[in-house]
């Protein structure tokens, strides 16, 4: 691989003094250590409890019906769709980091791509729950899938919801494959280092007979690049299609051509914010500051700032078009967003998404880990509010004033949302306990070549 001119000095993406061995040691140690840290148990325990909340919420929903939520007419979609869009958005960073940054040869991605991809998968898993459950008869949701049947059922291909089915399922499949393919060499490393027989077998199965042969590496590189090429358009397409759920409709506040790029930017924005939210505590707890360096955090902060500015542009244009169109319904929509029943959500959203990232212009803020963490959290909240404003506020005031009404989420709405946090965190805890959260072999490529050679000699001696 020839390094492009703008490639950052390697010392910034990996702390100096690391050898190939120390990299492998450090990362595999987290997985292969016998004693599970007590903190892990506590964290997983909380996550598990939240998963129970999820299961209870789902059971209640299936037994009683969609009516346990606060949705009504006119606000037919509520927290379920907001959460779906939010989780899908979060799931954008992983593939973006892995695929697009890989294609652009951004080597700094190496230390964050693995868990960002894992995060993507888990977020998509959480997201997938919502569209399935939000339908009135979830047991018939498979009717959205085109398959030959005797009921002469065939989906209606003009509906964006159907496009969602394809977009999200494709995205989930490719993301999973991409993640797994990337894991194979590391699974082999774990297999080789695992002490106990069962783990050796399990990791061995996962490694699919990887022996590190040159042919393996050659095929691996090809497959990984191809998958990256496949995944790249998906990063754009998934949220484009999700945005079309709204843009294709006639409802003021939904019907806007700016939605696809604006949604994609918003997704990357929230995705990176989520990576930051997770990476900052993880590197602290597992002492990975050497691998996830301040340089990484800064780069991510810059992406958050850039995409944040695109999102702000989106807000501005929405408002501008509402005014410029001279369309009374659009204008009323804008006025209602800002000053209506849900007006506070709009101002909070602007505060979270437009104002907060502006601090990232300052290098001092970008290099302050605590500040970054707080900003990332606020951005996550802001992006959730953005979806709330789009989904709920628009629906609550549409064309005929006679049908205007408000939506108040019930405890079952919240239960499902909180429950998916549990699912997300539980999966994440399992991931960091049983799989290498940082790509070992890719990190090894970052070790300066002199050190690498020396390390190889060490290994030969060992």
């Amino acid at each position: 691989m020839s390094a492009p001119a703008h490639k950052p000095p390697l010392s910034e993406v990996i702390a100096p003094g690391h050898t190939l061995t120390s990299v492998s040691e450090k990362i595999t140690k987290i997985v292969l250590t016998r004693a599970t840290p007590r903190g892990w148990y506590i964290g997983f325990g909380i996550a598990f409890l939240l998963v129970m909340v999820l299961l209870v919420s789902i059971t209640k929903l299936l037994v009683s019906g969609i009516g346990v939520w606060g949705v009504n007419v006119p606000v037919g979609w509520g927290l379920a769709i907001i959460n779906f869009v939010w989780w899908i958005g979060i799931g954008h960073a992983g593939t973006l980091i892995s695929a697009i940054l890989l294609l652009f040869r951004q080597q700094w991605r190496t230390s964050i791509n693995r868990f960002a991809e894992a995060m993507t998968l888990f977020a998509v898993a959480c997201a997938g729950i919502f569209p399935l459950l939000h339908v009135g008869r979830p047991w018939l949701a498979y009717w959205l899938v085109p398959y030959p049947n005797t009921m002469s059922l065939w989906p209606q291909f003009r509906s964006p919801l159907l496009w969602d089915v394809f977009a999200v399922s494709t995205y989930a499949t490719v993301s999973a494959l991409f993640w797994y393919v990337g894991l194979i060499p590391d699974l082999a490393a774990l297999r080789d280092r695992a002490k106990s027989k069962p783990w050796k077998i399990l990791y061995g199965i996962g490694a699919m007979g990887w022996r590190g042969a040159a042919r393996h590496w050659e095929r691996y590189e090809t497959a990984y690049l191809l998958l990256a090429g496949l995944a790249t358009p998906l990063v754009i397409s998934v949220h484009t299609v999700v945005s079309l759920d709204f843009a294709v409709s006639v409802i003021p506040g939904w019907h806007a051509t700016i939605f696809p790029p604006y949604f994609v930017a918003g997704a990357i924005y929230s995705g990176f914010a989520m990576v930051l939210t997770l990476a900052i505590p993880l590197r602290k707890i597992y002492g990975l500051q050497d691998f996830i360096t301040l340089h990484h955090l800064q780069n991510m902060a810059k992406i958050v700032l850039a995409t944040g500015m695109i999102v702000v542009y989106g807000y501005t244009m929405e408002a501008f078009f509402a005014w410029y169109s001279a369309n009374p319904y659009e204008q009323a929509m804008l006025a209602n967003r800002a000053f209506g029943y849900y007006g506070w959500t709009y101002w909070c959203l602007l505060g979270c998404n437009a104002l907060t990232p502006q601090f990232l212009w300052f290098k001092k803020v970008r290099s302050n880990v605590v500040a970054l963490f707080v900003i990332a959290l606020i951005v996550n909240v802001g992006m959730w509010l953005e979806r709330f404003v789009i989904v709920v506020t628009s629906l609550s005031h549409d064309y005929l004033p006679s049908s205007w009404d408000t939506y108040t989420p019930t405890k079952w709405d919240w239960g499902l949302y909180v429950g998916t946090f549990g699912l997300f965190l539980a999966l994440l805890f399992l991931f960091i306990r049983f799989l290498p959260m940082i790509s070992i072999f890719e990190m090894r490529t970052l070790v300066p070549s002199g050190v690498a050679e020396a390390a190889e000699k060490d290994e030969e001696h060992a």
Binding site: S64, G65, I66, G67, G70, V71, N72, V73, P74, V75, G76, W77, H134, V135, G136, R137, L140, A141, W143, L144, L153, W154, P155, Q156, R158, S159, P160, L161, L162, V165, D245, V248, S249, V250, I251, P328, Y329, A332, L395, D398, Y399, L400, P401, S402, S403, W404, D405, T406, Y407
Partner: protein, 1016 residues
């Protein structure tokens, strides 16, 4: 042992206690392991099994010792063998017979229609009731009936649900315990014998005085048997004020009927003649006819409304004036004086004087073509003034006709109930038979009827359902529904109808009887059925016999009206010695307390429909509240009193008080509250009990309709009132379009132009895509806003026709009502300057040709038919609700829960078999009554012809009193709907979105008096 006796086992005859004592003694000697071994030994002894079976006979089969495995297999094998043998045996012949001779006209799948009539508020609406295989399912108006002309009001539509009300009484009750009809007749017969010996001294009957010739005749015969019978009459929604007014003016009671079809100018003095009271459905039709001549060449009538509370009539008014109820007399006097009558009149303020002057001028310019009428709540003097004005303007005899009153008694209702209480207190009554109603709940508050009733030694109450009065009576006899009983009734003009049953009483075995049957029992006519008595009655009345009478009877039943029974017009003149005296001073406003207006509720009526779910969920006109009543007041008054809608207040008057939530209504009279009767029921079934507050508590016999000096105190509590429309106005969106008649004549369509009208304001904005060619039928609907009253009858008709479930108050609060057609009500800043005006807009599905709902459904559950219907395939719907989100009209309804009642047997009988009952998780909406379209199509195909114009009538269209809804084929250029679509004031709701709605509207016209214009 106190288990239920087992039929299989004889009851224990041996004294088992001795046996048990022996066993106990035997066991007591053992300890530890021995004890348990002894138990085993005991169980094995043959004698013990006998003891056990005697003690626990119902458990006996379980004590049969286990069959051994080998025995079991042996038996099984043998059984199988025997079964094979049995197949060889020839079974004996037991012939069953098919329904070879089915009842006449009964074709499965084809409904039959029978004419009958429903009496409400003293007069009858003629009905045609749809019957499916013997089940009445839907009520329609009878086109031949003068009070209906094919339409009905909302109450009549919902009356069918009361038939199937699961809370109806299923049996007679003696002091709350189930009793039989035989036990009742036996107990009553004993008393009646004693009473007959005393010539009926002590026997009393309380009835509603409704206009049934049959009941009057029966009561007459009852007097023949019991000459000293006391007969009382009470109904809370009486016409005592009208009666007193007529007596004041003419010296005798007369019924007034109006010819609004001939009226050019109408002045309603607190009269809600379009929506309440006798003949309202007919009046609405006649009145609307004078406003919607399609070309408007004939001009347009003009309605002035002077009222305290915003009524349906007030919403239709071209000029409306709101004033406190105590000020109405002054206004009426001023108007009369303006018209040259010699009455004393107080000075009015400038605005009211101007209004009175303009109305008087308009009336005097339309001599013989005007109507001045006073409402049932207006004081007698106002009624008298209306009579005088009509006489003066020669309206009497032209647009106003008089006839003998419909009521069977000449005594005012308030007097009847007062006399009853007085006689009760004086112990003059020994046996009281209450033939209908619920006086414990609705009698004037000062009488304390419940206490008086308790003093009567023997009390019988006939009621459909156990209510407050039943609870205080010795015997409760379940009353037959009008669709279960024979009777007769009179229309508002006196035309008689036979009420024929469509079904035998559902709970016949429980002793369900009609009032006629109960009176027949009292009169010792019990051997003859009500049917025979009714026939005999009409045979006598018609003077016909034999074949001739049969023909008469068949015609009466078939037509639903009896020809030649209309009351002839009377020529009455005002008394010469008429002196209306000095005007009563109005209450002096807030200083002496608020004024209260009492009105019948549009849904609960006098309280009898409290348990009717359709009516409870039906938004009330004007307020759009459901499931309860509220104290209505003007926003300005609310502000002055520091009240927000939903605040609970205590209202005190005359020593009584009620707690009520307040609700503000723009255009309501200031310093005045309106309370609706019929709520706060303590015993009204599962739904009706405890809804709202009881306004009867403040209602006295002397002031039945308005109360002065009411003290209001805030309680600090809040109530959640379930309204289906939270936004009061249309935010200048020009959705329900209104223009003045003057401007419309001059400018045509442009008169309706709103602030935001889009350049694409045409039904089909330009499109890049070619439209779908609709060949053959293309169904469409036009709704004339100019005719729509906002009476909501269409909503109940739709609910009844389409099996629409009710959802309850909590779901309404959550915005989940299910009505397929709704009537939006928008308050508008006045175009005329009088008060806030109201425009009503019925909104069913628009059946858009470019339906936004269809493109977004991922499973193709909502699709377009080649006739232009937007169809909903329930079975295919998975419930994404995307269609509802994307519907600009929000007419789609979602089953968030399993709203339809799949459990209650009686409610299943009401369902229209042609319409699917929807389950949980499915979207639904207006279908244009596709089942009716299909029926017409099948019929047309059988007869090898095209569907005729007018052959398909949607449920909402059929019921509409003003014929505001027209349905038909827009491809047929000659159809009524095509003509309406060519009118200049025809428009599509939100057509600028390019949805190409098939349901379209005609703009509303108002005809204000130019002299009353703000700047005139």
């Amino acid at each position: 042992m106190n288990a239920e006796p087992s039929l299989a086992q004889p009851p224990p005859t041996v004294d088992s206690s001795a046996e048990f004592a022996a066993i106990r003694a035997r066991l007591q000697t053992r300890n530890g392991d021995e004890f348990w071994r002894e138990l085993e030994a005991l169980a094995g002894e043959p004698g013990f099994q006998d003891v056990l079976q005697r003690e626990f006979p119902s458990q006996a089969p379980r004590f049969v010792p286990d069959v051994q495995r080998r025995d079991f297999l042996r038996l099984m094998g043998a059984s199988l063998g025997v079964m094979g043998l049995a197949a060889c045996t020839r079974q004996p012949d037991e012939k069953i017979l098919p329904f070879a001779r089915s009842p006449e006209y009964l074709i499965p799948g084809k409904p039959l229609y029978f004419a009958t009539a429903l009496t409400l508020g003293g007069c009858a609406q003629g009905l045609l009731v749809e019957s499916h295989m013997g089940r009445p399912t839907k009520i329609e108006g009878n086109p031949d009936h003068p009070s209906s002309l094919g339409a009905t009001d909302a109450l009549a539509q919902a009356a069918i649900l009361s038939l199937y009300d699961p809370d109806r009484s299923h049996s007679c009750l003696r002091a709350g315990q189930i009793g039989t009809w035989n036990a009742f007749t036996t107990e009553l017969a004993g008393r009646l014998e004693a009473l007959a010996a005393r010539q009926g001294e002590g026997l009393a009957v309380l009835h509603a005085g409704e206009a049934s010739p049959f009941l009057s005749a029966q009561l007459g015969r009852l007097v023949a048997r019991f000459p000293k019978l006391r007969s009382y009459r009470w109904t809370p929604l009486h016409r005592d004020q009208e009666r007193a007014g007529a007596e004041l003016a003419f010296g005798r009671d007369v019924a007034v009927r109006y010819r609004f079809d001939k009226a050019r100018v109408v002045l309603a003095l607190d009269a809600d003649f379009l929506a309440a009271g006798p003949g309202a459905v007919r009046y609405a039709r006649d009145f609307a006819g004078g406003r919607m001549g399609r070309s408007y060449a004939a001009g347009m009538n003009r309605l002035y409304a002077v009222e305290s509370t915003y009524s349906v009539t007030g919403a239709m008014a071209d000029e409306r004036l709101s004033l406190r109820p105590s000020e109405l007399e002054g206004f009426a006097r001023a108007l009369a004086k303006e018209l040259g009558l010699a009455v004393e009149a107080p000075a009015l303020d400038a605005r009211r004087a101007r209004f009175a002057r303009a109305a008087a001028k308009d009336l005097s310019q339309n001599v013989g073509a005007g109507v001045v009428l006073a409402g049932s709540g207006a004081d007698p003097v106002v009624h008298a003034l209306a009579h005088l004005v009509n006489e003066r303007l020669r309206n009497a005899g032209s647009t106003v006709e008089y006839s003998v009153p419909l009521e069977v008694t000449s005594e005012p209702a308030a007097e009847g109930i007062r006399r009853l209480v007085e006689d009760t207190r004086a112990h003059r009554i020994d046996t009281l038979v209450i033939l209908s109603g619920n006086p414990v709940y609705d009698a004037p508050a000062e009488l304390d009827f419940a206490a008086a009733l308790a003093g009567v030694p023997f009390r019988v109450h006939l009621a459909a359902q156990v209510n407050e009065t039943s609870a205080l009576c010795h015997w409760h006899v379940p009353e037959a529904h009008f669709l279960e009983s024979w009777s007769d009734a009179r229309a508002h003009d006196g035309t008689a109808s036979i009420v024929q049953p469509l079904i035998a009483p559902l709970y016949e075995a429980g002793g369900v009887k009609s009032a006629h049957e109960l009176v027949a029992l009292l009169a010792s006519e019990a051997g003859t059925s009500a049917y025979q008595l009714l026939r005999a009655q009409w045979q006598a009345a018609s003077g016909k016999s034999g074949e001739e009478f049969e023909a008469f009877w068949r015609a009466a039943l078939n037509d639903g009206v009896i020809a030649g029974t209309t009351f002839p017009a009377l020529d009455v003149k005002p008394r010469a010695d008429l002196d209306l005296g000095a005007p009563k001073a109005p209450e002096n406003g807030l200083a002496s307390g608020l004024e209260l207006v009492l009105r019948a509720d549009a849904s609960a009526f006098d309280g009898r429909f409290a348990n009717n779910a359709w009516l409870q969920e039906l938004p009330r006109p004007i307020t759009r509240l459901t499931w309860e009543n509220a104290a209505l007041l003007a926003p300005a008054t609310a502000t002055r009193l520091g009240l927000e809608p939903g605040d609970v207040v205590t209202l005190a008057a005359g020593g009584k008080s009620v707690r009520a939530p307040v609700w503000s209504v723009p255009g309501h009279a200031e310093d005045t509250l309106t309370l609706h009767l019929g709520y706060g029921r303590k015993l009204a079934g599962k739904l009706g009990t405890g809804l709202g507050f009881d306004a009867y508590a403040l209602r006295t016999g002397v002031a039945p309709w308005r109360v002065g000096g009411v003290k209001l105190t805030k309680t600090g509590e809040r109530a959640a009132l379930a309204t289906v429309q939270k936004q009061p106005d249309q935010e200048q969106r020009n959705l329900a379009r209104v223009a003045t008649f003057e401007r419309f004549k001059a400018e045509g369509k442009l008169a309706f132009a709103g602030k935001h009208d889009s350049p694409f304001d045409q039904l089909a904005p330009p499109s890049l895509y070619p439209g779908f060619p609709y060949e053959g039928y293309a169904w469409g609907m036009v709704i004339d806003l100019n005719a729509c009253l906002g009476c909501n009858a269409c909503m109940v008709a739709c609910q009844s026709e389409n099996n629409i479930p009710v959802v309850g108050k909590d779901q309404i609060l959550n915005g989940r009502e299910m009505h397929w057609i709704r009537v939006d009500r928008y308050f508008e800043p006045s175009v005329t300057g009088s008060t806030e005006t109201i425009v009503h807009q019925p909104v069913p599905c628009m059946h858009c040709e470019n339906a936004p709902c269809e493109t977004v459904c991922p499973v193709g559950a909502t699709v377009h038919s080649d006739e232009g219907l937007n169809e909903m395939v329930y079975n295919r719907c998975v419930g994404t609700r995307y269609c509802s989100n994307n519907c600009p009209y929000k007419v789609r309804r979602f089953n968030f829960f399993p709203y339809a009642d799949f459990e209650t047997e009686s409610l299943k009988m009401q369902r229209n078999p042609d319409v699917t009952v929807r389950s949980r998780g499915v979207m639904e909406k207006c279908t244009y009554c596709v089942q009716r379209i299909s029926q017409a199509r099948i019929q047309a195909k059988k007869e090898e012809r095209a569907i005729r114009e007018g052959e398909i009538v949607s449920a909402c269209q059929a019921v509409c009193p003003t014929q505001a809804i027209t349905f038909g084929d827009i491809n047929d250029q000659a159809s009524a709907i095509s003509k309406l679509r060519g009118e200049p004031h025809h428009y599509g709701l939100l057509a600028e979105l390019g949805t190409r709605p098939r349901t379209t509207y005609l703009g509303k016209l108002r005809n204000p008096n130019p002299e009353l214009a703000e700047n005139a």
